[in-house]
């Protein structure tokens, strides 16, 4: 694993090779291993180590980037030459700002951190350690033993199982010619399990920087029970139903709106929030933060320019309060026709590495805990007729301004009647507006760290939603 000191030495070598006005180097990479199983057998088992150095140079308002994984003298010389030759032929960018120094990147003292969404704020705005030696030390043998336990559960229930058990140790760093140097290390362990019966399936997935937070056996039992309960699925007609989305299903669908919480998306007029910031778009019970420092979140505390990520409320009691900004986007917004319609305008530490066309995005979404949280069991018990959804799949945007998305249910869809899970049902296709959906949330659980396959990991509750729009039913 690359250390900050080694990266600093590489940065010094690169700096000596460059003649640019300004220069920035990003480091990323680490070790990654994944054991994959299917049909109760480990069928793929991989491990890699790779690090990338990415050099951005600036000449008189012109900038470009080149990257390589070759850290020898030739490799570094080539990457500097590529970056510089690309930068020199660009047109000057009037929006390009000087690189931030350490002081600017650190942001204001309070950094926007407030404890109004159910967690205690860290006084200095820093993130908790996300590197755990026990996760970094996971071996192929340990992963195989974990998979063996999952397979035992499958065999006990006469099911077959497929899934993954992965572990990683990664670094992310940024150095620039104005003296900024930020470094972040993290570990992550992840388990995903599908249990398959003859005509049904069940699924569970979880990840954490600390492998001690994962319980593959419990996950296997839950997935197996879902597969057993979903056997012999009945067909019920498409239409509007009360749905109970488990946290993974909730995050996979709501994740499709967060690209739009971006100053650049407003400037580009491609955001569904254009003309809607400050208005009540969702239900009173919806409050959403972006908070990299939340104890259940992961990721580095700085953005693609090295700016510290602020913790911010995006939505409060259904009202869209603000979007996030990279440094240059904030400056552009202050001069734009939208400046009085977008809430607070300031660099928030959410920018992507420059140069890029997307600007920024919130990536550490935290839903605030509801006033009266309900367990999944309570949501089911209070439902006269509805659909319980384990997982959603292949979600795509249908209408960008109404934020209508389509997708399928998968791996455990159940009919709820008279407060009880009655039986497994065939999968549905939905076409649903996220504005409509988040206006119809009747109940939520305590938010927890969840992961899916369609969107990034979040701290999100299970949600009970009325009038969810299923448009078609499939044949399984």
């Amino acid at each position: 694993m690359l250390t900050k000191n080694q990266a600093g030495d590489i940065f010094d070598r690169i700096k000596r090779l460059s003649v640019a006005d300004e220069m920035e180097v990003l480091f990323s990479g680490g070790k990654f291993a994944l054991t994959r199983f299917a049909n109760n057998t480990i069928h793929q088992n991989v491990e890699e180590e790779n690090h990338t150095v990415s050099v951005r140079t600036v000449f008189d308002g012109r900038t470009a980037r080149a990257s390589t994984n070759r850290f020898d003298d030739d490799g570094l010389r080539r990457v500097v030459e590529s970056s510089e030759s690309l930068a020199k032929v660009q047109h000057p960018d009037s929006d390009l700002l000087p690189m931030p120094d350490s002081r600017e990147a650190a942001g204001s003292a309070d950094g926007g951190v407030r404890a109004s969404h159910g967690r205690l704020a860290l006084q200095d705005g820093s993130v908790p350690s996300r590197h755990f030696a026990s996760t970094a030390a996971i071996t192929p043998q340990l992963r195989a033993e974990g998979v063996g336990q999952i397979v035992n559960v499958a065999q006990k229930h006469k099911l077959t199982t497929a899934g993954i058990y992965s572990s990683s140790e990664s670094v992310e760093g940024i150095f620039n010619s104005r003296g900024l140097s930020n470094w972040h290390t993290q570990t992550l362990a992840e388990v995903s399990i599908t249990m398959l019966g003859a005509d049904s399936s069940g699924w569970q997935k979880a990840n954490s920087p600390d492998v001690a937070n994962l319980d593959p056996l419990r996950m296997a039992e839950t997935a197996a029970q879902k597969a057993l309960d979903a056997a012999h699925p009945a067909e019920i007609p498409a239409g509007k139903y009360t749905v109970i989305l488990e946290p993974s299903a909730a995050l996979d669908i709501v994740g499709f709106m967060f690209w739009d919480y971006s100053g650049m998306a407003i400037l580009d007029q491609r955001s569904f929030l254009t003309g809607r910031i400050g208005s009540k778009l969702f239900g009173e019970n919806i409050t959403i933060w972006d908070d990299v420092a939340h104890p259940l979140q992961t990721g580095s505390p700085f953005d693609g320019e090295g700016m510290r990520r602020m913790s911010l409320p995006l939505v409060e009691n259904g009202v869209v309060k603000r979007v996030v900004y990279a440094r240059a986007t904030a400056e552009r917004m202050k001069r734009s026709e939208f400046k009085d319609k977008t809430g607070p305008i300031e660099p928030t530490g959410h920018g992507f590495a420059l140069p890029n066309e997307m600007g920024e995005m919130p990536l550490n979404i935290v839903f605030a805990a509801p006033q009266n949280p309900q367990t999944l069991a309570q949501m089911i018990a209070s439902t006269e007729r509805g659909v319980l959804v384990t997982r959603l799949w292949y979600i795509r945007e249908v209408d960008p301004y109404e934020k209508m998305v389509t997708g399928m249910t998968r791996d455990g869809t159940f009919l709820v009647e008279d407060g009880k899970v009655r039986q497994g049902i065939r999968n549905f296709r939905f076409n649903e507006s996220l504005i409509h959906m988040l206006s119809n949330v009747e109940a939520m659980s305590e938010p927890l760290r969840a992961c899916g396959e369609e969107s990034f990991d979040m701290v999100v509750p299970a949600m009970k939603i009325r009038d969810f729009n299923f448009t078609e039913v499939t044949k399984f």
Partner: protein, 488 residues
Amino acid sequence: MKQIAIWALNVATMRGASYADARIVSQRSRALTTKNGKVGSASDAESVGMSVRVLADEAWGFAASEDLSRSSVEATAARAVEIARASAQVKREDVRLAPEKPVTAEWTTPHRIDPFSISVEQNIALLLSIDSEMRSVAGITLAETNLNFNREEQWFLSSEGSDIHQTKYSAGAGYTAYAFAGNEIQKRSYPTSYGGQWQNKGYELIEELKLVENARRIAEEAVALHHADQCPEGKFDIILDSSQLGLQIHESIGHPIELDRVLGMEANFAGTSFLTLDKLRTLRYGSDMVNVVADARQEHGPGLGTFGFDDEGVPAQCTPIITNGLFTGYLSSRETAHTIGENRSGGTLRAEGWNRLPMIRMTNVSLLPGERPLTLEQLIADTDHGILMQTNRSWSIDDRRYSFQFGCEIGWEIKHGKRVRMVKNPSYSGITTEFWNSLDAICSRDEWTLWGTPNCGKGQPQQVMGTGHGAAPSRFRGIKVGSAYKGN
């Protein structure tokens, strides 16, 4: 580079691997974008590394490293064997590889102009002139363009004696014009959406695409969509343009024929397939005129699925997938071929890069053109009432690849053989086999295009791969249209 592979193979076999292959890969890419008159991003990237795939105790192990020193390469090979032995702790049966004759070969993508020889200034000037054309149309609120070039050089050596040096080039370009007004965002893209057209070619592809010539028309259509009527809902005959049909092939034929999906190996992520093994040579997949091949050979064309050899050293082949409507073949590998009674791999194993395990991927999965001469305009003239849909806007299909919904950027209502009006937000949905059995006309070779899909995702860790799909505009009878907007 060969010596690096030999170090790896020697250690792997010395440690007890019954089979090993090593790949050393050097990748170079260039990506340029513009947005509203300015360069959006400009980047070059290179990545070099090696990987070893081994069978030990009849189970798989794979390890990869960026470090090409002898000590690191040998440690990586030893690690792959160690990982394979861990895999063997949880297995039901031994891995069986179909035999493959070792080969020594060189192969390079035929190309006329090395794309990296074209100056960045020239590339940016091209993109900015497209951008300028689009933004000259009143009502355009966002204009985006992209240009991408890739070069991948690979040395593949196996413990069975294969020694293959292969260099592949690909290029891609496209643009999108957006118009925001009222409560609606409309867009049009060219040559198709989500990155444009991609092929395994040099810079000559960019010259062939007529990018600047079409920019103003595309922008005008994006603005005009705001004044168009909503696409009607109901059952209609639909005509799909060749790019939309290419994606339809990708999702509802290309993915379900992947044998690893069929065998459950992707059940946790990408999903399984409705094409269970009993359906081979028994399922009526489509109407009689449906003929689909998976063809990786150069003679099929410069698709993103064209190569000399796959990433386990099997030569490029053409596999009949659907023959006169009958389902006749899967995409297979050396490990999976025996499950369908074949004694040789279909040659479809590919990896995203040096650090990824090769897996079954689509090659060029193409619908062959109609045999009788038929242009798009003649097909429209032959349609009494229908909707012509062009350029994908959204796509979604279930995890068995059976129930789908697609949206397109623009539609045209056809009445009595004529386009009578533009319609916005067209969408259609259906069941895979019902849909392909409703096909009743395919335009002929002159209308056939080999499209590139540069962003096909599969596997854990996920790998992004380029695939090719040849298609000509085609007509489907009695398709459900507009259900995406039902109830909203």
